[in-house]
């Protein structure tokens, strides 16, 4: 692969790893916030579903705020 192509793949890999990492943290955070530990039921109830939806929305909002504060341009992700 020519040098340019290799560079593109490396950058894409970095971005991919970044996104995967973010998704992972987001999932863990909202599980912690929304799902109680007694695990009375294996199904998600209505309350938990709403909580998850709102949690994801809020987490995403925080992502945007932090992105702006760190100087938007260099950070990928929308």
């Amino acid at each position: 692969m020519p040098k340019g192509g290799e560079e593109a793949v490396n950058m894409a890999q970095q971005e991919m790893e970044f996104r995967v990492d973010m998704f992972s943290r987001l999932t863990a955070a909202c599980f912690e916030k929304c799902i109680g530990r007694s695990y009375k039921d294996s199904e998600l109830n209505v309350g938990e579903n709403s909580c998850i939806d709102r949690c994801v929305a809020k987490y995403w909002q925080v992502t945007g705020i932090v992105g702006q504060m760190l100087g938007g341009a260099q950070f990928p992700g929308k």
Binding site: A29, K58, V62, L70
Partner: protein
């Protein structure tokens, strides 16, 4: 890795070394971003009655970010002092 070893590298190797440093720093910046989001979210957001942050939460997040960045800066400083100045800046 000491300065004299770096000085004796070929141009090609120096370029590769620079590229490696850039890659590592980029990865670290991205990790910082994700760490900050997670940490400040966990510490500042506790209610999910709405899907948008309220003023208190937003302020908390901003302060959290600023504080963490300042903290990182200070840690860097001390680390460089202890480590003899070879640590990368930023």
């Amino acid at each position: 890795m000491d300065p004299s070893m770096l000085a004796s590298l070929s141009d090609e190797d120096k370029a590769a070394m620079d590229k490696m440093l850039e890659t590592v720093q980029m990865r670290d910046s991205l990790r910082l971003y994700n760490t900050l989001v997670e940490r400040c979210f966990n510490n500042c957001v506790d209610s999910f009655r709405r899907k948008t942050l309220d003023k208190t939460e937003e302020t908390c997040v901003k302060r959290c970010v600023e504080k963490f960045l300042k903290h990182t800066g200070r840690v860097s400083l001390r680390f460089q002092e202890i480590n003899g100045g070879l640590a990368t800046p930023d």
